[in-house]
Subunit: 245 residues, 2 copies
Protein backbone atom coordinates (compact mmCIF):
# COMPACT_ATOMS: atom_id res chain seq x y z
CA UNK A 1 0.00 0.00 0.00
CA UNK A 2 1.34 3.40 -0.96
CA UNK A 3 0.23 6.88 0.08
CA UNK A 4 1.20 10.13 -1.60
CA UNK A 5 -0.08 13.67 -1.70
CA UNK A 6 -1.94 14.99 -4.68
CA UNK A 7 -0.09 18.25 -5.31
CA UNK A 8 -1.06 21.55 -6.79
CA UNK A 9 -4.45 21.88 -5.13
CA UNK A 10 -4.94 25.65 -4.79
CA UNK A 11 -6.77 27.46 -2.03
CA UNK A 12 -10.46 27.06 -2.70
CA UNK A 13 -13.28 29.54 -2.17
CA UNK A 14 -17.05 29.20 -1.95
CA UNK A 15 -18.31 28.00 -5.30
CA UNK A 16 -15.08 26.33 -6.46
CA UNK A 17 -15.90 23.15 -8.37
CA UNK A 18 -13.85 20.97 -6.07
CA UNK A 19 -14.87 17.75 -7.82
CA UNK A 20 -13.51 19.01 -11.15
CA UNK A 21 -10.41 20.40 -9.46
CA UNK A 22 -9.56 17.09 -7.79
CA UNK A 23 -10.50 15.07 -10.88
CA UNK A 24 -8.11 17.12 -13.03
CA UNK A 25 -5.28 16.76 -10.53
CA UNK A 26 -5.98 13.04 -10.15
CA UNK A 27 -5.84 12.53 -13.91
CA UNK A 28 -2.65 14.52 -14.28
CA UNK A 29 -0.95 12.74 -11.39
CA UNK A 30 -1.60 9.15 -12.35
CA UNK A 31 -4.52 8.18 -10.13
CA UNK A 32 -5.92 4.90 -11.47
CA UNK A 33 -9.10 2.90 -10.88
CA UNK A 34 -8.91 1.12 -7.54
CA UNK A 35 -7.13 3.99 -5.82
CA UNK A 36 -8.71 5.69 -2.83
CA UNK A 37 -8.60 9.47 -2.36
CA UNK A 38 -8.65 10.82 1.17
CA UNK A 39 -9.66 14.47 1.25
CA UNK A 40 -9.51 16.81 4.25
CA UNK A 41 -13.03 18.08 4.80
CA UNK A 42 -11.89 21.64 5.10
CA UNK A 43 -11.39 22.23 1.37
CA UNK A 44 -14.76 20.60 0.71
CA UNK A 45 -16.40 22.77 3.35
CA UNK A 46 -14.81 25.91 1.93
CA UNK A 47 -15.93 25.04 -1.59
CA UNK A 48 -19.45 24.46 -0.32
CA UNK A 49 -19.56 27.80 1.46
CA UNK A 50 -19.52 26.31 4.95
CA UNK A 51 -17.35 29.11 6.25
CA UNK A 52 -18.97 31.53 8.68
CA UNK A 53 -17.76 34.96 9.74
CA UNK A 54 -18.16 35.04 13.48
CA UNK A 55 -19.08 38.73 13.28
CA UNK A 56 -22.16 37.73 11.26
CA UNK A 57 -23.42 35.28 13.88
CA UNK A 58 -26.17 36.48 16.21
CA UNK A 59 -25.97 34.49 19.43
CA UNK A 60 -29.28 33.48 20.98
CA UNK A 61 -30.09 33.11 24.64
CA UNK A 62 -28.88 29.49 24.87
CA UNK A 63 -25.59 30.42 23.24
CA UNK A 64 -25.08 33.28 25.69
CA UNK A 65 -25.65 30.96 28.62
CA UNK A 66 -23.28 28.36 27.14
CA UNK A 67 -20.71 31.07 26.58
CA UNK A 68 -20.83 32.03 30.26
CA UNK A 69 -20.45 28.40 31.30
CA UNK A 70 -17.58 27.56 28.95
CA UNK A 71 -15.69 30.80 28.38
CA UNK A 72 -16.10 30.39 24.62
CA UNK A 73 -17.27 33.32 22.47
CA UNK A 74 -21.08 33.53 22.28
CA UNK A 75 -20.84 33.42 18.47
CA UNK A 76 -18.87 30.17 18.63
CA UNK A 77 -21.42 28.72 21.03
CA UNK A 78 -24.25 29.68 18.66
CA UNK A 79 -22.53 27.77 15.85
CA UNK A 80 -21.87 24.77 18.08
CA UNK A 81 -25.51 24.60 19.12
CA UNK A 82 -26.69 25.00 15.52
CA UNK A 83 -24.44 22.14 14.38
CA UNK A 84 -25.39 19.83 17.26
CA UNK A 85 -28.18 17.39 17.82
CA UNK A 86 -27.21 17.52 21.47
CA UNK A 87 -24.35 18.10 23.85
CA UNK A 88 -23.09 14.74 25.08
CA UNK A 89 -20.61 15.89 27.72
CA UNK A 90 -19.35 19.19 29.00
CA UNK A 91 -16.61 20.04 31.42
CA UNK A 92 -15.31 23.58 31.76
CA UNK A 93 -14.28 24.67 28.25
CA UNK A 94 -14.72 21.25 26.69
CA UNK A 95 -17.92 20.48 24.80
CA UNK A 96 -18.40 17.02 23.30
CA UNK A 97 -21.32 17.21 20.90
CA UNK A 98 -23.29 14.89 18.70
CA UNK A 99 -23.52 16.56 15.31
CA UNK A 100 -26.57 16.30 13.08
CA UNK A 101 -24.63 13.63 11.17
CA UNK A 102 -24.26 11.60 14.38
CA UNK A 103 -20.53 12.21 14.90
CA UNK A 104 -19.55 12.60 18.55
CA UNK A 105 -16.70 15.08 18.76
CA UNK A 106 -15.46 18.29 20.34
CA UNK A 107 -17.27 21.53 19.49
CA UNK A 108 -19.49 19.83 16.88
CA UNK A 109 -16.42 19.62 14.60
CA UNK A 110 -16.31 23.39 14.18
CA UNK A 111 -12.83 24.48 13.23
CA UNK A 112 -11.41 27.84 14.21
CA UNK A 113 -7.77 27.16 13.33
CA UNK A 114 -6.20 27.42 9.91
CA UNK A 115 -9.18 29.41 8.70
CA UNK A 116 -9.27 33.04 7.65
CA UNK A 117 -9.17 35.19 10.77
CA UNK A 118 -12.49 35.64 12.51
CA UNK A 119 -14.12 32.76 10.65
CA UNK A 120 -15.15 29.21 11.49
CA UNK A 121 -15.27 26.24 9.13
CA UNK A 122 -18.17 23.83 9.60
CA UNK A 123 -18.44 20.25 8.35
CA UNK A 124 -20.17 19.84 4.99
CA UNK A 125 -23.93 19.57 5.47
CA UNK A 126 -23.92 16.08 3.93
CA UNK A 127 -20.33 14.81 3.65
CA UNK A 128 -21.48 11.54 2.07
CA UNK A 129 -23.18 13.49 -0.72
CA UNK A 130 -20.02 15.58 -1.12
CA UNK A 131 -17.98 12.38 -1.34
CA UNK A 132 -20.34 10.97 -3.96
CA UNK A 133 -20.02 14.05 -6.16
CA UNK A 134 -16.22 13.95 -6.02
CA UNK A 135 -16.17 10.18 -6.47
CA UNK A 136 -18.30 10.42 -9.61
CA UNK A 137 -16.10 13.12 -11.12
CA UNK A 138 -12.80 11.40 -10.35
CA UNK A 139 -14.04 7.98 -11.47
CA UNK A 140 -15.21 9.44 -14.77
CA UNK A 141 -11.91 11.23 -15.24
CA UNK A 142 -9.66 8.22 -14.59
CA UNK A 143 -11.92 5.71 -16.33
CA UNK A 144 -12.92 3.48 -13.45
CA UNK A 145 -14.05 3.28 -9.85
CA UNK A 146 -12.06 5.08 -7.19
CA UNK A 147 -12.97 5.31 -3.52
CA UNK A 148 -13.34 8.71 -1.86
CA UNK A 149 -13.08 9.37 1.86
CA UNK A 150 -13.66 12.83 3.31
CA UNK A 151 -11.76 13.14 6.57
CA UNK A 152 -11.66 15.14 9.76
CA UNK A 153 -9.45 14.88 12.82
CA UNK A 154 -11.32 13.95 15.97
CA UNK A 155 -10.36 13.14 19.52
CA UNK A 156 -11.38 9.83 21.04
CA UNK A 157 -12.79 8.65 24.32
CA UNK A 158 -10.15 6.95 26.50
CA UNK A 159 -7.15 7.87 24.33
CA UNK A 160 -5.07 11.00 23.93
CA UNK A 161 -4.45 12.75 20.67
CA UNK A 162 -6.49 13.29 17.57
CA UNK A 163 -6.67 10.92 14.61
CA UNK A 164 -8.04 11.39 11.14
CA UNK A 165 -11.39 9.65 10.63
CA UNK A 166 -13.90 9.25 7.80
CA UNK A 167 -16.81 11.72 7.78
CA UNK A 168 -17.86 10.97 4.20
CA UNK A 169 -17.34 7.86 2.07
CA UNK A 170 -18.28 7.04 -1.54
CA UNK A 171 -17.49 4.32 -4.05
CA UNK A 172 -16.42 1.69 -1.53
CA UNK A 173 -17.68 -0.27 1.44
CA UNK A 174 -16.60 1.63 4.58
CA UNK A 175 -16.74 -1.52 6.69
CA UNK A 176 -15.26 -4.91 5.83
CA UNK A 177 -17.40 -7.62 7.34
CA UNK A 178 -15.29 -10.62 8.36
CA UNK A 179 -18.19 -12.30 10.10
CA UNK A 180 -18.65 -15.75 8.66
CA UNK A 181 -15.10 -15.98 7.35
CA UNK A 182 -12.80 -18.40 9.12
CA UNK A 183 -9.61 -17.92 11.05
CA UNK A 184 -6.47 -19.97 10.46
CA UNK A 185 -7.80 -22.70 12.73
CA UNK A 186 -10.90 -22.94 10.55
CA UNK A 187 -13.27 -21.44 13.11
CA UNK A 188 -15.91 -18.90 12.17
CA UNK A 189 -14.92 -15.34 13.10
CA UNK A 190 -17.55 -13.39 15.00
CA UNK A 191 -17.95 -9.73 15.77
CA UNK A 192 -15.24 -8.72 13.36
CA UNK A 193 -16.28 -5.72 11.38
CA UNK A 194 -13.21 -3.81 10.29
CA UNK A 195 -13.64 -0.04 9.94
CA UNK A 196 -11.54 0.09 6.77
CA UNK A 197 -12.51 3.65 5.84
CA UNK A 198 -11.40 4.87 9.27
CA UNK A 199 -8.10 2.95 9.01
CA UNK A 200 -7.46 4.53 5.60
CA UNK A 201 -8.45 7.96 6.91
CA UNK A 202 -6.02 7.53 9.80
CA UNK A 203 -3.28 6.49 7.41
CA UNK A 204 -3.88 9.57 5.28
CA UNK A 205 -3.66 11.73 8.39
CA UNK A 206 0.07 11.03 8.52
CA UNK A 207 0.39 12.85 5.18
CA UNK A 208 -1.89 15.76 6.10
CA UNK A 209 0.17 18.03 8.32
CA UNK A 210 -1.99 20.25 10.44
CA UNK A 211 -1.03 23.40 8.53
CA UNK A 212 -3.58 22.30 5.93
CA UNK A 213 -1.24 22.56 2.94
CA UNK A 214 -1.78 19.03 1.56
CA UNK A 215 -5.47 18.24 1.72
CA UNK A 216 -5.63 15.29 -0.71
CA UNK A 217 -3.89 11.92 -0.27
CA UNK A 218 -3.89 9.14 -2.87
CA UNK A 219 -3.87 5.61 -1.48
CA UNK A 220 -2.84 2.90 -3.92
CA UNK A 221 -2.60 -0.85 -3.54
CA UNK A 222 -5.56 -1.35 -1.21
CA UNK A 223 -8.41 -3.70 -2.05
CA UNK A 224 -11.79 -2.11 -1.49
CA UNK A 225 -15.21 -3.57 -2.16
CA UNK A 226 -17.37 -1.58 -4.54
CA UNK A 227 -20.30 -0.09 -2.70
CA UNK A 228 -22.26 3.09 -2.27
CA UNK A 229 -20.21 4.08 0.76
CA UNK A 230 -21.69 6.16 3.54
CA UNK A 231 -19.81 7.32 6.62
CA UNK A 232 -23.21 7.18 8.29
CA UNK A 233 -22.62 3.43 8.41
CA UNK A 234 -19.59 4.06 10.64
CA UNK A 235 -21.75 5.82 13.20
CA UNK A 236 -22.85 3.48 15.97
CA UNK A 237 -26.55 3.92 16.59
CA UNK A 238 -27.23 5.55 19.95
CA UNK A 239 -29.17 2.50 21.18
CA UNK A 240 -26.13 0.27 20.61
CA UNK A 241 -23.67 2.73 22.11
CA UNK A 242 -22.60 2.18 25.71
CA UNK A 243 -20.93 5.57 26.09
CA UNK A 244 -23.05 8.20 24.39
CA UNK A 245 -25.15 8.17 27.53
Amino acid sequence: MRLRNLTGIPEVAAGTDIAALIADAACAQGVVPGDVLAIAHKIVSKAEGRVVRLADVVPGEAARRLSQETGKRPETCELILAESRRIVRRRRGTLICETHHGFVCANAAIDLSNTPDGTAVLLPRDPDASARRIQAAVSAAVGGRVGVIITDTHGRAFRRGIVNIAVGVAGMEPIVDHRGSTDREGRILTATEQALADELAAASGVLMPKDGGTPVVVISGVATEPGPGGADRLVRAAEHDLFRG
Copy 2:
Protein backbone atom coordinates in the same frame (compact mmCIF):
# COMPACT_ATOMS: atom_id res chain seq x y z
CA MET B 1 4.60 6.57 2.70
CA ARG B 2 4.73 2.89 1.82
CA LEU B 3 3.50 -0.13 3.76
CA ARG B 4 4.40 -3.75 3.07
CA ASN B 5 4.29 -7.02 4.91
CA LEU B 6 7.39 -8.58 6.34
CA THR B 7 7.10 -12.12 5.01
CA GLY B 8 8.28 -15.45 6.24
CA ILE B 9 7.40 -14.96 9.91
CA PRO B 10 6.65 -18.51 11.12
CA GLU B 11 4.12 -19.51 13.75
CA VAL B 12 5.68 -18.72 17.11
CA ALA B 13 5.47 -20.61 20.38
CA ALA B 14 6.18 -19.71 23.98
CA GLY B 15 9.86 -18.96 24.31
CA THR B 16 10.47 -18.02 20.66
CA ASP B 17 12.97 -15.15 20.50
CA ILE B 18 10.60 -12.92 18.60
CA ALA B 19 12.99 -9.95 18.66
CA ALA B 20 15.70 -11.97 16.89
CA LEU B 21 13.16 -13.47 14.50
CA ILE B 22 11.86 -10.08 13.42
CA ALA B 23 15.33 -8.53 13.34
CA ASP B 24 16.55 -11.26 10.97
CA ALA B 25 13.55 -10.88 8.68
CA ALA B 26 13.87 -7.09 8.77
CA CYS B 27 17.52 -7.28 7.78
CA ALA B 28 16.88 -9.75 4.98
CA GLN B 29 13.96 -7.74 3.60
CA GLY B 30 15.54 -4.34 3.40
CA VAL B 31 14.23 -2.56 6.47
CA VAL B 32 16.29 0.59 6.96
CA PRO B 33 16.76 3.11 9.76
CA GLY B 34 13.75 5.42 9.95
CA ASP B 35 11.27 2.67 9.09
CA VAL B 36 8.52 1.78 11.54
CA LEU B 37 7.50 -1.82 12.21
CA ALA B 38 3.92 -2.49 13.23
CA ILE B 39 3.54 -5.88 14.88
CA ALA B 40 0.27 -7.63 15.76
CA HIS B 41 0.36 -8.25 19.49
CA LYS B 42 -0.70 -11.84 19.09
CA ILE B 43 2.69 -13.14 17.97
CA VAL B 44 4.34 -11.20 20.79
CA SER B 45 1.85 -12.59 23.31
CA LYS B 46 2.40 -16.12 22.05
CA ALA B 47 6.18 -15.78 22.25
CA GLU B 48 5.84 -14.47 25.79
CA GLY B 49 3.66 -17.38 26.84
CA ARG B 50 0.53 -15.28 27.26
CA VAL B 51 -1.64 -18.10 25.95
CA VAL B 52 -3.93 -19.77 28.46
CA ARG B 53 -5.74 -23.08 28.11
CA LEU B 54 -9.27 -22.41 29.28
CA ALA B 55 -9.39 -25.91 30.80
CA ASP B 56 -6.59 -24.86 33.17
CA VAL B 57 -8.46 -21.82 34.46
CA VAL B 58 -10.24 -22.17 37.82
CA PRO B 59 -13.10 -19.67 37.94
CA GLY B 60 -13.68 -17.94 41.24
CA GLU B 61 -16.95 -16.79 42.70
CA ALA B 62 -16.93 -13.41 40.93
CA ALA B 63 -16.25 -15.08 37.59
CA ARG B 64 -19.14 -17.49 38.12
CA ARG B 65 -21.48 -14.61 38.84
CA LEU B 66 -20.24 -12.70 35.79
CA SER B 67 -20.72 -15.82 33.70
CA GLN B 68 -24.35 -16.06 34.73
CA GLU B 69 -24.89 -12.40 33.94
CA THR B 70 -23.20 -12.43 30.54
CA GLY B 71 -23.55 -15.96 29.20
CA LYS B 72 -19.78 -16.18 28.74
CA ARG B 73 -17.86 -19.24 29.97
CA PRO B 74 -16.81 -18.93 33.63
CA GLU B 75 -13.20 -19.55 32.60
CA THR B 76 -13.33 -16.65 30.13
CA CYS B 77 -14.85 -14.44 32.83
CA GLU B 78 -12.06 -15.38 35.22
CA LEU B 79 -9.47 -14.29 32.66
CA ILE B 80 -11.35 -11.06 31.92
CA LEU B 81 -11.48 -10.18 35.62
CA ALA B 82 -7.80 -11.04 36.09
CA GLU B 83 -6.79 -8.80 33.17
CA SER B 84 -9.00 -5.90 34.26
CA ARG B 85 -8.57 -3.02 36.63
CA ARG B 86 -12.32 -2.62 36.46
CA ILE B 87 -15.35 -3.17 34.28
CA VAL B 88 -16.33 0.15 32.72
CA ARG B 89 -19.61 -0.85 31.05
CA ARG B 90 -21.62 -4.01 30.73
CA ARG B 91 -24.71 -4.81 28.72
CA ARG B 92 -25.86 -8.37 28.17
CA GLY B 93 -22.86 -10.24 26.69
CA THR B 94 -20.77 -7.11 26.16
CA LEU B 95 -18.09 -6.23 28.72
CA ILE B 96 -16.04 -3.08 28.25
CA CYS B 97 -13.07 -3.28 30.60
CA GLU B 98 -10.18 -1.13 31.64
CA THR B 99 -7.09 -3.33 31.46
CA HIS B 100 -4.21 -3.03 33.89
CA HIS B 101 -2.43 -1.06 31.14
CA GLY B 102 -5.32 1.44 31.10
CA PHE B 103 -6.76 0.39 27.71
CA VAL B 104 -10.55 0.53 27.59
CA CYS B 105 -11.76 -2.27 25.34
CA ALA B 106 -14.05 -5.28 25.04
CA ASN B 107 -13.29 -8.32 27.21
CA ALA B 108 -10.02 -6.83 28.51
CA ALA B 109 -8.49 -7.47 25.05
CA ILE B 110 -8.68 -11.23 25.55
CA ASP B 111 -8.72 -12.96 22.19
CA LEU B 112 -10.50 -16.25 21.64
CA SER B 113 -10.41 -16.26 17.82
CA ASN B 114 -7.53 -17.36 15.65
CA THR B 115 -5.94 -19.09 18.63
CA PRO B 116 -5.43 -22.80 19.17
CA ASP B 117 -8.78 -24.34 20.08
CA GLY B 118 -9.73 -24.00 23.74
CA THR B 119 -7.14 -21.31 24.41
CA ALA B 120 -7.19 -17.56 24.93
CA VAL B 121 -4.47 -15.08 24.02
CA LEU B 122 -3.90 -12.21 26.47
CA LEU B 123 -2.11 -8.93 25.84
CA PRO B 124 1.58 -8.90 26.73
CA ARG B 125 2.02 -8.00 30.39
CA ASP B 126 4.01 -4.90 29.45
CA PRO B 127 3.62 -4.22 25.71
CA ASP B 128 5.88 -1.16 25.89
CA ALA B 129 8.69 -3.32 27.30
CA SER B 130 8.05 -5.89 24.56
CA ALA B 131 8.24 -3.11 21.97
CA ARG B 132 11.51 -1.86 23.46
CA ARG B 133 13.12 -5.31 23.24
CA ILE B 134 12.11 -5.73 19.61
CA GLN B 135 13.08 -2.16 18.80
CA ALA B 136 16.56 -2.64 20.24
CA ALA B 137 17.12 -5.86 18.32
CA VAL B 138 15.88 -4.54 14.97
CA SER B 139 17.72 -1.23 15.33
CA ALA B 140 20.97 -3.07 16.05
CA ALA B 141 20.40 -5.38 13.10
CA VAL B 142 19.69 -2.66 10.53
CA GLY B 143 22.24 -0.20 11.89
CA GLY B 144 20.03 2.64 13.06
CA ARG B 145 16.84 3.64 14.81
CA VAL B 146 13.58 2.08 13.77
CA GLY B 147 10.22 2.64 15.43
CA VAL B 148 8.22 -0.30 16.75
CA ILE B 149 4.48 -0.31 17.36
CA ILE B 150 2.71 -3.32 18.85
CA THR B 151 -0.90 -3.31 17.72
CA ASP B 152 -4.28 -4.70 18.65
CA THR B 153 -7.71 -4.23 17.10
CA HIS B 154 -10.16 -2.46 19.38
CA GLY B 155 -13.68 -1.17 19.04
CA ARG B 156 -14.43 2.47 19.71
CA ALA B 157 -17.08 4.42 21.52
CA PHE B 158 -19.55 6.08 19.12
CA ARG B 159 -18.30 4.38 15.96
CA ARG B 160 -18.85 0.96 14.44
CA GLY B 161 -16.10 -1.43 13.49
CA ILE B 162 -12.73 -2.22 14.92
CA VAL B 163 -9.49 -0.44 14.08
CA ASN B 164 -5.90 -1.33 14.76
CA ILE B 165 -4.39 0.77 17.57
CA ALA B 166 -1.03 1.00 19.35
CA VAL B 167 -0.71 -0.98 22.59
CA GLY B 168 3.09 -0.75 22.74
CA VAL B 169 5.49 1.82 21.25
CA ALA B 170 9.28 2.10 21.25
CA GLY B 171 11.90 4.18 19.49
CA MET B 172 9.63 7.04 18.50
CA GLU B 173 7.32 9.66 19.94
CA PRO B 174 3.80 8.21 19.88
CA ILE B 175 2.25 11.70 19.88
CA VAL B 176 3.25 14.62 17.68
CA ASP B 177 2.69 17.84 19.53
CA HIS B 178 1.66 20.63 17.18
CA ARG B 179 0.89 23.03 20.00
CA GLY B 180 2.84 26.20 19.52
CA SER B 181 3.33 25.64 15.80
CA THR B 182 1.46 27.97 13.48
CA ASP B 183 -1.18 27.39 10.87
CA ARG B 184 -1.04 28.82 7.37
CA GLU B 185 -2.52 32.08 8.59
CA GLY B 186 0.30 32.37 11.11
CA ARG B 187 -1.86 31.72 14.18
CA ILE B 188 -0.72 29.45 16.99
CA LEU B 189 -2.35 26.02 16.88
CA THR B 190 -3.85 24.83 20.13
CA ALA B 191 -5.02 21.49 21.36
CA THR B 192 -3.46 19.66 18.48
CA GLU B 193 -1.75 16.54 19.65
CA GLN B 194 -1.68 14.04 16.81
CA ALA B 195 -1.79 10.39 17.84
CA LEU B 196 0.75 9.38 15.21
CA ALA B 197 1.34 5.89 16.59
CA ASP B 198 -2.38 5.17 16.43
CA GLU B 199 -2.62 6.51 12.88
CA LEU B 200 0.28 4.26 11.84
CA ALA B 201 -1.23 1.29 13.68
CA ALA B 202 -4.53 1.89 11.86
CA ALA B 203 -2.70 2.07 8.54
CA SER B 204 -0.96 -1.23 9.25
CA GLY B 205 -4.31 -2.81 10.06
CA VAL B 206 -5.20 -2.63 6.38
CA LEU B 207 -2.32 -5.06 5.72
CA MET B 208 -3.10 -7.39 8.62
CA PRO B 209 -6.05 -9.48 7.52
CA LYS B 210 -7.90 -10.92 10.44
CA ASP B 211 -6.75 -14.47 9.68
CA GLY B 212 -3.50 -13.52 11.40
CA GLY B 213 -1.20 -14.64 8.58
CA THR B 214 0.76 -11.39 8.18
CA PRO B 215 1.58 -10.05 11.62
CA VAL B 216 4.39 -7.61 10.76
CA VAL B 217 4.07 -4.52 8.55
CA VAL B 218 6.95 -2.27 7.52
CA ILE B 219 6.12 1.41 7.14
CA SER B 220 8.62 3.46 5.15
CA GLY B 221 8.73 7.12 4.33
CA VAL B 222 7.26 8.45 7.54
CA ALA B 223 9.06 11.02 9.69
CA THR B 224 9.08 10.06 13.36
CA GLU B 225 10.69 11.87 16.25
CA PRO B 226 13.22 9.80 18.21
CA GLY B 227 11.91 9.10 21.68
CA PRO B 228 11.48 6.39 24.22
CA GLY B 229 7.93 5.68 23.06
CA GLY B 230 5.32 4.36 25.42
CA ALA B 231 1.75 3.52 24.43
CA ASP B 232 0.93 4.46 28.01
CA ARG B 233 1.24 8.05 26.78
CA LEU B 234 -1.68 7.40 24.44
CA VAL B 235 -3.90 6.47 27.37
CA ARG B 236 -5.98 9.41 28.57
CA ALA B 237 -5.80 9.62 32.32
CA ALA B 238 -9.10 8.74 33.96
CA GLU B 239 -9.39 12.19 35.54
CA HIS B 240 -9.22 13.85 32.08
CA ASP B 241 -11.58 11.37 30.48
CA LEU B 242 -15.21 12.40 30.08
CA PHE B 243 -16.46 8.92 29.15
CA ARG B 244 -14.72 6.36 31.35
CA GLY B 245 -17.23 7.33 34.02
